[in-house]
């Protein structure tokens, strides 16, 4: 009967080219994007576990204490590097390639090269992780990977840059959508960032405090000019796409993009407040952070005004729920970050748990949910399969939200109190450490909640890869009650494909 319905309702001719192009683009980019995203999820799980071990070690120092490979000084860099390069780099690259191919409406070029690149990149991260665990970390924060791992990470990125420019130059569309600006910008910014930062720190092109400046210029920008633009590009794409409305204002998009490009770059040095740097370099970082209010508010208006009047979609659409969570956390965490840069604020919160809370607000409240939203949206289109269980998506969402909020609130509160106590020399240091212990335990709890969410997502994701789910069916939404049991039931029935083939298909 499905066959009859379809034949009786032909697609309007005017829509056909766009639809056919879309199907072709999605089908063609499938192997590449699926490989990038599935490996990114592997590193996400790995990073979460490494983070959990570091977190437990902070309140129970004896935990796994006998193993020198996973002492705190090694496992914590592994946590951050696998989170930003493993999960972040691969998820963002997949997003970048898929969005660019879709928005340019052309097939993904150099597929084989990109696949090989993905394998090399994963090898590079594995090599880097083993290097750090063996004690060969460079000791430069966020650039800890030993130098022999760097070529593995740079070469695949060259492939991505080439593919991205190639797509943009051959694009079949006339208009350049705002997401594409951010994607193009990332491919220009990130190589400059990482190459100059590596040159200035690990290769020793400059000495002394200039190395520290280069290090924090990079450390701040890897979040702000790599993860953030990719996240914003995803939000700019997903929000209007799901609710079927145009983005609020083209002019605000312009203002947001260029002010972000101009101001973010300067913000890094506020990490060195109180350090032996010329005062003006730190003030420059503070001003850069304060000026970030302009792009943040502008992008916020653009996203939230687009959403205005469409909030009821949050009840049904998993993609939208993650995307809106991401864009709201972008606004909030950026406000927090701008204020955090002020010297008066840093006097209290510098070198406390507050900073850790803020980083996770940005990475797990803003960037990660947008990458999840991207995967929830694109995977059914790439694989022609539906998410197997709405309940698992629900678990993933609530674990992400609750775990993230618990983490951020516990760390920020503990950080402020810790900072105030540390500024009072009459309080013994040990008392301050004891005060933070309950909050460090809350953090471990938050980490466990986040891990639960990740595992729910992994189950859903792997069921899609192993084809234990619905094919060519209606989308899995929060309002549907699709469960694993339904799939077992379904496997006994004919698939829609078999119906179309008259029951002859495999």
């Amino acid at each position: 009967m499905i066959q009859n319905q379809i034949l009786q309702n032909p697609i309007p001719e005017a829509l056909r080219p766009e639809l056919e192009a879309r199907i072709e683009v999605d089908t063609y980019s499938r192997p590449v994007i699926v490989l990038y995203w599935s490996t990114s999820l592997f590193w996400l799980t790995f990073a979460t576990l490494a983070g959990l071990i570091s977190s437990i070690k902070l309140h129970s120092p004896g935990f796994l204490g006998g193993m020198e490979w996973i002492t705190f000084g090694r496992i914590r860099p592994v946590h951050w590097d696998t989170a930003i390069y493993g999960f972040g780099g691969l998820a963002a690259s997949g997003t970048l390639l898929w969005l660019q191919a879709r928005l340019c409406q052309i097939r993904l070029p150099f597929r084989e090269l990109l696949l090989v690149g993905c394998v090399i990149y994963n090898l590079g991260i594995a090599v880097g992780v083993v290097g750090i665990l063996m004690g060969q970390s460079t000791g430069v924060e966020t650039l800890e990977f030993p130098l022999y791992a760097i070529p593995f990470l740079v070469i695949p990125y060259v492939f991505i840059v080439i593919a991205n420019f190639n797509m943009y130059w051959r694009k079949a569309t006339k208009h350049t959508y705002v997401s594409q600006w951010y994607l193009m910008a990332v491919t220009v910014w990130f190589p400059i960032l990482i190459l100059s930062a590596e040159a200035c720190t690990n290769f020793g092109a400059v000495d002394g405090v200039a190395q520290a400046i280069a290090n924090w210029w990079y450390g701040h920008n890897v979040v702000g000019l790599f993860a953030t633009p990719t996240g914003i590009a995803a939000a700019y794409y997903l929000i209007p796409k799901v609710i079927g409305k145009p983005i609020h204002s083209y002019h605000l998009s312009l203002l947001g993009f260029w002010s972000n490009a101009i101001f973010y770059n300067w913000a890094g040095t506020h990490h060195l407040t109180g350090g032996p740097l010329p005062a003006w370099t730190i003030t420059l970082g503070v001003v850069g952070s304060l000026m970030m209010f302009i792009p943040v508010i502008t992008i916020g208006i653009n996203h939230h005004m687009t959403m205005l009047g469409s909030f009821h979609y949050l009840k049904t659409s998993p993609t939208l729920r993650f995307a809106v969570m991401g864009s709201m956390c972008y606004t909030l965490s950026s406000f927090q970050g701008s204020l955090e840069a002020l010297r008066s604020h840093q006097e209290v919160t510098h070198f406390t748990h507050y900073t850790i809370g803020h980083v996770h607000f940005g990475m797990y409240g803003f960037f990660a949910p947008l990458m999840f939203a991207m995967m929830y949206y694109a995977m059914p289109r790439l694989t022609n399969q539906e998410w197997s269980s709405a309940r698992l998506i629900r678990i993933h969402f609530w674990c992400t939200l609750v775990g993230m909020l618990l983490y951020v609130l516990a760390m920020c509160f503990a950080g402020i109190r810790q900072g105030l106590m540390m500024n009072d020399p009459s309080i013994p240091f040990l008392n301050i450490v004891k005060f933070t212990v309950p909050f460090l335990m809350l953090r471990t709890l938050a980490g466990l909640i986040l891990l639960t969410g990740t595992i729910a997502f992994l189950i859903n994701f792997s069921r899609m890869l192993t084809r234990h789910t619905f094919t060519y069916s209606t989308p899995t939404l929060f309002t549907s009650n699709r469960r694993w049991e339904d799939i077992l039931e379904k496997e006994k029935e004919l698939t829609s494909k078999q119906i179309l083939d008259g029951g002859q298909g495999a």
Binding site: R22, W280, T283, T298, T306, R381, P425, Y472
Partner: protein, 228 residues
């Protein structure tokens, strides 16, 4: 998976259309809207004016906290004239801060641990010759040491990497806390002894005693002046 690959091309009118392609086309049409577009809502002028003033504020802030853009200016509010020297810190307050790591062995009470870490309270080494006390802190000491008639055996590391001012402050602090009441240790004494010791290694009880009996090198007024 390959079975489901749609051809994507225009359907041939002669042969019956590929059912996969038809189905893919329908599911693509049903499940999503067209690619997103840009809206053209105007930006409020008031908002642009606010952004403009915010940038102006940024410029003022940069200048106000620039420390006159000096390469060696660590104080963001330094204005005019030579750089003001940091005001001298109360050595008792600074010393208490510096004492943090010392507590691990000598304890918060300054009583030490019997057998391993000698007490600071009433110790002849703390209250006696300042020159010997500074020498212990700078180079560290290892092996048997008799303090207040009891023998202690452990290792004290060198604290050479600390600033002279910090060493003087922590010594002043331990000489005047927990009932101790000896006079303060001046910073220039630490400077002199540091110079005198050069890159000498750690002490033991014997070499320390020899050092304490040796004549102190004369502190010339010029050197003392230079350290201020």
């Amino acid at each position: 998976m390959s079975e489901a690959t749609p051809t994507g091309g225009a359907p041939n009118e002669v042969t019956p259309p590929n059912p996969d392609a038809i189905f893919a086309l329908h599911s693509a049409a049903m499940r999503e809207a067209s690619e997103p577009r840009d809206g053209i809502k105007p930006t409020p002028v008031s908002y642009l004016i606010m952004c403009f003033f915010w940038v102006l504020f940024g410029g003022w802030y940069m200048g106000y906290y620039s420390g006159e853009f000096r390469a060696n200016g660590l104080n963001e509010r330094a204005v005019g004239g030579p750089l003001a020297a940091a005001p001298p810190q109360n050595p008792m307050v600074l010393g208490k801060e510096i004492f943090g790591p010392c507590m691990q062995c000598h304890q918060e009470t300054g009583l030490g641990v019997p057998g391993s870490y000698p007490p600071l309270v009433g110790s002849e080494y703390v209250l006696g010759d300042k020159r010997r006390l500074v020498a212990i802190l700078l180079n560290g000491i290892t092996g048997d040491l008799v303090v207040k008639g009891k023998t202690y055996n452990s290792q004290m590391p060198s604290w050479k990497l600390r600033e002279d001012e910090e060493i003087a402050a922590v010594l002043t602090y331990i000489r005047a806390s927990w009932g101790n009441s000896a006079d303060s240790v001046p910073t220039n004494l630490v400077t002199t002894i540091r110079k005198e010791l050069g890159d000498k290694g750690g002490w033991d009880a014997k070499s320390l005693a020899e050092f304490a009996e040796s004549k102190p090198a004369a502190v010339t007024p010029v050197e003392a002046q230079a350290t201020k």
